[in-house]
Amino acid sequence: MPLLRIPMSLATIFSSMSVDSETQDPDLLRRLLRAKDRMDAASHEDWPVPRLARVSRVCPAHFARSFKQAFGLPPHRYLLTRRIERATALLRDTDRPITEIAFDTGWESLGTFGRTFRDVTGESPGAIRTRARAAAYEFGRLPACFISAAHRPDLTISVSEKRRREGTDIKAPDQKEIP
């Protein structure tokens, strides 16, 4: 019977762990924030978990769970929201070709960018560009960084789940490219 007690005690530990970030050590949260800040500053770069875990000085095995507990979404999906946000800002504020924007915001192909962008925002990059410019006057008095944040997509579910719900998940071979 002692063997059975081990999983039971683990289950007890996990069930007593609140999903509430208020129970996380503020020092850990501060270090997790540093990883989030680094993604914010360079969202076009690759941010595999070991790299983020090093920034936060957290064991890679615990990083993703701790990050999600703290910020409400997994690190790769947070990065995706920042990339979409930045692409949206560039589409709105510059005349640069969409291909250039795709590569500059961290995508490896225009196709992946366009498809992910549509899946997340519901519009194509070109359509967003047209609409954002028409609405630009509304934001004339806000600092640029806050305008950008206001356009960050709210990704409460994964992109693949979003696709599945919308019945558009027909391009399965490309799924691996989606963070």
Partner: protein, 135 residues
């Protein structure tokens, strides 16, 4: 005394650390530093803006219960407090000086629409945008 905002407060995880940061690194001055037991009323002011005090408060008893204080500590550490903005004459020069002093920048000076801005955090996690406004 002219009518207007006189004091706004920040929550910090450690008042000594905050004092070393805001006074020692950013160049603010101590306005008031009064203790009563565990409680410490600590405010600083920008040298060019004596009319506004910036309070550096540690959430906790006797003002707040431990559970509330823990919540606030978590919120600050997650960088979820509202944005703060510091105006400067020369953003790039201030960036170089503060970075050399060990300030944690989260965004290098960037030019946007004629303004230059950078971002940094205090040790607790409070986020500042440092803006050099177009003249």
């Amino acid at each position: 005394m002219s009518p207007g905002v006189q004091e706004v407060g920040l929550y910090v995880r450690d008042q000594e650390e905050a004092l070393a940061f805001y006074v020692g690194k950013l160049g603010f001055r101590v306005h008031t530093d009064v203790r009563n037991g565990n409680y410490r009323w600590l405010t600083v002011q920008h040298p060019d803006q004596p009319s506004l005090q910036l309070g550096l408060f540690k959430p906790g008893p006797p003002v707040l219960d431990e559970a509330t204080a823990q919540t606030l500590h978590a919120i600050v550490a997650k960088g979820a407090m509202p944005p703060l903005v510091l105006g400067v004459d020369d953003c790039r020069a201030a960036y170089e000086r503060l970075r050399a002093a060990g300030v944690e920048f989260t965004q290098e000076p960037t030019s946007r629409f004629g303004n230059v801005d950078a971002s940094f955090r205090d040790p607790s996690g409070n986020g500042w945008k440092m803006i050099e406004a177009r003249g």
